[in-house]
């Protein structure tokens, strides 16, 4: 889901960049109108969230959601990061931030290293039952998480990692393995066979070929997978909720606690600030690595 919306935008942009005509053509106007509409579609809600987060509750109560704050205040941001309560723990979303980080890092290492190796073996080496395994992976990639949730709880409980950040990380890694392995396998397929064949003649081992030939060529695909994984793990709610127990609740679960209340009073400006703070890390990473991301998703297509 995330992937398609991210992929759509840069490809349109690159079309615009290659054409260097000064005169504006009708179809360019059409594209511009479409892009402006698409941008508004995302920007209007973000604008409302932003201005609300800088208002005091008395201004929010007036209900003019598009109005700029009469008095700008950072109080909600400060409160959301440092002092908002999730239960009796009142250290804002910052408490969940570190939990999210401790979930993210091991899950990245586990999922990417395992799936990369498997993909490499399946694409470039003769593996018995490779096609069968590929089929199983494909099936696994489309099984909804909810179906295997209960057995997974049992399994993590049995291994004593239920309710720990490491347990949540392992579950994330397991859930991501099928699709990541498929991505890596397809990418490595595009590496010319002659390259590995030549390396094998030079008596390269499985590991040496991986580290000295394949890995250096995989920078772009790694960036793609990294961004996909960071976004999905960071933004995840249900895995963190289900496997986090009481000590390992990620930022999204804390955010839900802050913002959701049946019979309690609502503080919308704090909710908005907390939501923006929670959403920020993947966005920042995307902005920093965005250029490589575009290169990465086109890399597969350019290889002959």
């Amino acid at each position: 889901m995330n992937g398609s919306s991210i992929i759509g935008l840069p490809s349109v942009l690159s079309v615009g960049r290659t054409r260097r005509r000064r005169r504006i053509r009708p179809h360019q106007i059409a594209i511009s109108i479409f892009l402006v509409m698409a941008a508004l579609f995302f920007c209007v809600p973000i604008y409302v969230i932003l201005v609300t987060s800088f208002k005091s509750m008395n201004e929010v109560r007036l209900g003019d959601i598009f109005a700029l704050p009469q008095r700008w205040t950072f109080a909600s941001w400060k409160y959301a990061w440092f002092a908002a309560c999730s239960g009796m723990r009142c250290d804002g979303v910052s408490g969940g931030f570190f939990n999210s980080l401790f979930i993210l890092l091991p899950s990245l290492v586990l999922s990417i290293s395992l799936s990369m190796l498997t993909g490499y073996a399946m694409a470039l080496w003769d593996v018995k039952w490779a096609n069968g395994l590929l089929f199983v992976l494909f099936v696994c990639a489309v099984v909804p998480f909810q179906i295997i949730m209960y057995p997974l709880i049992k399994i993590t409980g049995f291994f004593g990692i239920y309710g720990t950040t490491f347990g949540v990380a392992v579950v994330h890694a397991i859930l991501a393995l099928p699709i990541l392995t498929l991505i890596f396998r397809n990418f490595f397929r595009s590496i010319p066979g002659e390259l590995t064949a030549a390396a094998m003649i030079d008596s390269g081992s499985f590991w040496r070929i991986f580290f000295e030939i394949v890995l250096p060529m995989s920078g772009n695909i790694l960036i793609v997978v990294l961004i996909l994984q960071i976004t999905s793990v960071w933004n995840d709610f249900i895995v963190g909720l289900t496997f986090g127990g009481h000590d390992a609740q990620p930022m999204t679960v804390i955010l839900n606690n802050l913002a959701l209340s049946d019979t309690g009073e609502n503080n919308y400006s704090v909710d908005m600030a907390a939501a923006l703070l929670t959403a920020a890390p993947p966005l920042i990473i995307y902005f920093v690595l965005g250029k490589f991301f575009v290169q990465g998703i086109t890399a597969g297509a350019l290889k002959g």
């Binding site: 509750m57 008395n58 109560r61 007036l62 209900g63 908002a84 309560c85 999730s86 239960g87 009796m88 723990r89 009142c90 209960y150 709880i153 049992k154 993590t156 409980g157 291994f159 004593g160 990692i161 239920y162 309710g163 720990t164 909720l241 289900t242 496997f243 127990g245 009481h246 609740q249 679960v253 839900n256 606690n257 802050l258 913002a259 959701l260 209340s261 049946d262 019979t263 309690g264 009073e265 609502n266 503080n267």
Partner: protein, 414 residues
């Protein structure tokens, strides 16, 4: 070699878990609360609980993420809470089946607290004849909260109304003065809660329990009382403002707080919004039952306990169950939370005007009805929500058609 390492690692992790569990009287306390009023109320409990030499390990997961599911997940995964906030009787039946239920009947009898609970509270905390929950707060699901300044401006006195007809009578005057007479949000939750509040207030004992009870009675649908309730329900729908659809109850309450609307009929937890906005009960806003009310729907928040089969935990759990219903602590809790106490014998000095209305109402056993979430068949209750929503959003639907719709729904469920 590698396998040995894994086994060692697992053993270390499991062992570490046992060590933390073995800490003496720490209870893991699971609830769904996080707003400032809720937290300051919980702190009242925590201070008293800790002063008895226990420690409170807190776990919050907000309501809509499925409190039952999370509780069951934690049971499955092997680190369940010792105390949890849950009113659903089903969960206590499930726990009983697994031998994990912890009844409070004897404890409460020994300490003579049961006689101080209003009948609605007693009914709520009893599951299959045993007291299973420690009640902590009481809400009435449908009260009238109104903005006193708006009432003064349009020269109406809501407290003089004797019936809903008196209410309708002044609506046009209020509209002419430029105010919304009744603020009502159009999401399913508010619509369904309004309907049950009106069925209780307009028809009282005649049909409420037969309609929302454990085994609903089909004959209560095709009655004069049901038509009367649906007609009143329709009347409110006709007077709502254009912003009503999908508006949350908080935002709806804000219309009353900011003086755009005169009143709202909703659960009395809206008091929390008024207080958070710095409004004073009796000065800026006031509260009352629905005019001419014959009955009210009562929501009770309550704690359940898990049988851990450890004596020191059981001791701490019993201390918790007792302090929750201690009259002074419970009153202090209620003042912070914006609810009403669960006992009728608390010190009146600790009550605000709205609490007094609630406790006065709850003194009459004939007036009170349980929230359907705690009594009704879950499928049937969901279906009622759907039909109420459809009726509300189809302005051409008459009470007769509503009755037929409920009958059809009944036949599809039972």
């Amino acid at each position: 070699m590698f396998a040995k390492k894994i086994v060692g690692l697992i053993a270390a992790i499991v062992g570490a878990n046992f060590v933390t569990n073995a800490k003496s009287t720490e209870l893991l306390i699971y609830h769904s609360w996080s707003t400032p009023s809720e937290i300051s109320a919980l702190k009242v409990l925590n201070e008293n609980f800790s002063s008895e030499g226990n420690s409170w390990k807190d776990l919050a997961i907000a309501h809509d993420s499925g409190v039952n599911v999370s509780l069951m997940n934690m049971l499955t995964g092997g680190n369940p809470p010792d105390v949890f906030m849950n009113s659903d009787p089903g969960i206590y039946r499930d726990l009983k089946k697994q031998g994990l239920a912890y009844p409070l009947t004897k404890l409460y009898q020994d300490h003579h607290v049961l006689e101080h609970f209003p009948p609605a509270v007693l009914k709520n905390i009893t599951v299959d004849g045993e007291i299973m929950k420690a009640p902590v707060s009481v809400h009435i699901d449908g009260m009238v909260y109104y903005n006193k300044h708006v009432a003064d401006a349009v020269v109406v006195d809501p407290k003089s109304w004797k019936s809903l007809d008196d209410l309708w009578a002044v609506f046009d005057k209020i509209k002419a003065a430029g105010y919304i007479p009744i603020a009502q949000g159009g999401d399913k939750f508010q619509i369904a809660y309004l309907l049950q509040a009106i069925i209780a207030s307009e028809t009282g004992n005649a049909i409420y329990d037969r309609f929302y009870g454990e085994k609903p009675d089909r004959t209560c649908i095709d009655t004069r009382e049901m038509r009367q309730a649906l007609a009143a329900f329709r009347k409110i729908q006709q007077h709502t403002d254009p912003g009503s659809p999908n508006r949350k109850w908080n935002e709806t309450t804000n219309l009353v707080i900011t003086g755009k609307a005169l009143l709202q009929i909703h659960g009395d937890w809206m008091k929390g919004e008024f207080l958070a906005a710095g409004k004073q009960p009796g000065v800026d806003f006031d509260c009352m039952n629905i005019p001419g009310t014959k009955g009210v729907v009562v929501t009770v928040d309550a704690w359940g306990f898990l049988n851990t089969k450890k004596t020191e935990k059981a001791k701490a759990q019993e201390q918790f169950a007792l302090l929750v219903v201690d009259p002074a602590i419970n009153a202090a809790f209620a003042a912070k939370k914006g609810c009403s106490p669960v006992r009728t014998d608390v010190d009146p000095k600790s009550l605000d005007p709205c609490n007094k209305v609630v406790l006065e109402t709850l003194k009459d056993p004939a007036m009170q009805h349980a929230n359907p979430f705690n009594t009704a068949d879950a499928d049937w209750y969901r279906t009622i929500w759907d039909v109420a929503d459809k009726f509300w959003n189809t302005p051409s639907m008459t009470p007769d058609q509503g009755v037929a719709e409920f009958q059809r729904a009944y036949d599809s469920v039972f």
